[in-house]
Each structure stands twice: as C-alpha cells, then as structure tokens.
C-alpha cells in the first residue's frame, strides 16, 4: 500500500520570503511523486513531478521540489512567495507497480501568503 503525509494543515509565509510545504511518502518500489495546486472551487492543477533522474525538480510558477530517498520526502519549495501563491497544495505518490496508474494524495496543506 502507498501513503502520503502532509504534516502541516496550514503554512503561513510573508510575501517575498521562501516557502516550504512538506510531504513524506511510503510506497513499494520506486516512487513517482507529484505536486498539485488547487484554487477555490477549481480542479487540481499539476505543478511538477519526480519520475527519475535529478533529485531537484523544477515546475510551474517558480516552484521546485527536492526528492530525498533516505528521508522519503518530497518537499515543495519556492524562493520568494507571492500573495497569488495562496492556495491548497496536494502531494501525491504512485509507483510503477500500480497498474491503474492510481495516485494516493496527501490531505493537503493550505498555504497563506500575507502581503
């Protein structure tokens, strides 16, 4: 079975400061890891993914995430937060053993960026 934990319900950051949204995972075999963002009353938007290769993955809107196999983590980061980054963020995991290509999502972290 695969699982994802997002330990923080909410992260508060001042505009211009760096942000980190935490994610840890558990999966059999090699993980495929994803980050999504959701704005109010909208569907989830794909931000970035880790499949293989470089541990630092760059994605949309200046976000990046670092895959750490020993810590089974995939934290989302951005060097300088914008007020418009305020949204709900989801981490998800899958594995190549997953025939249905199903993703397991974390519970979500609400990011609040204050001016």
């Amino acid at each position: 079975a695969q699982s994802v934990a997002q330990p923080e319900d909410q992260v508060n950051v001042a505009e211009g400061n760096p942000l980190t949204v935490k994610c840890t995972y558990s999966v059999s075999g090699n993980p495929y890891l994803f980050w999504y963002v959701q704005y109010p009353n909208r569907g989830l938007q794909f931000l970035l993914k880790y499949i293989t290769g470089d541990n630092l993955v760059k994605g949309s809107y200046g976000f990046e995430a670092e895959f750490n196999k020993s810590q089974t983590s995939f934290h989302l980061k951005k060097p300088s937060a914008l007020v418009s980054d305020s949204a709900l963020y989801f981490c998800a995991v899958s594995s190549h053993n997953n025939a249905g290509n199903m993703l397991t999502f974390g519970g979500g972290t609400r990011l609040m960026v204050k001016p």
């Binding site: 794909f46 997953n98 025939a99 290509n101 979500g108």
Partner: protein, 116 residues
C-alpha cells in the same frame, strides 16, 4: 492539446433524487479515467477508476456508480442521493497502461453538488 470537461458546474438536488454527472476528455485516446470526491475543501477520495470502455473499478462501496459508455466519456450516477453525497466531484484522466510508467493525472474543473 488535451482538455477535460465536466458538467454541470454546480448542482442542488433533494435527498432521494437521482444523479448524473458527466465527464469528457478531448485530444487523447484510451485514457485512464477517475472520479474523486472532495469534502470540505480538503482531501481527495478516489471513488472509481476505469482503464477502458466498460471497465470500472470501485474504491469505496456506496450508493454511487460509474459507467464508461465511450472511450472518453465517464459518468457518475446515483439512483437516490443521500445528504452525505454533498461535495465537490472531480474527474481526472491520465495516460493509460501503454505508457509504461506512472503519469500525472489531469483534472477537470469539478462539480459542486449540494444535497438538501
């Protein structure tokens, strides 16, 4: 490019009434399709997924059902809605098994269902 549509965008239904939510995908063939429910703006619950026409897997037993009558059409139904069926319903697609690896899912805009 691929696009995914859901309708209606919002729906208010009385308890005990039937439900039909539709999802269609354009620009790809033989996608995997998924129905999720999101309660209270937080976690996602996978309800059904489909790897092909007529192939439906249910993740959570409930009074909902799903059907895939065409390759790029996925329908979520209920014969009698319960109050607990209220929520935000999201459809998603991904590349199918021929891709040989796990791929990201792409989500539709969602349907807000309120059961009164």
């Amino acid at each position: 490019s691929q696009t995914i549509h859901q309708w209606p965008a919002t729906l208010v239904q009385p308890v005990g009434s039937p439900l039909s939510l539709e999802c269609t995908v354009e620009g790809t063939s033989n996608p995997n399709l998924y129905w999720y429910r999101q309660a209270a703006g937080r976690g996602l619950q996978l309800l059904f997924y489909s790897v092909g026409i007529g192939q439906i897997s249910s993740e959570v037993p409930q009074n909902l059902s799903a059907s895939r009558p065409q390759d790029r059409q996925f329908i979520l139904s209920s014969k009698k809605l319960l109050l607990s069926d209220s929520g935000f319903y999201l459809c998603a697609w991904s590349l199918g098994l021929t891709s040989g690896r796990s791929n990201e899912q792409f989500f539709g805009p969602g349907t807000r269902l309120t059961v009164l």
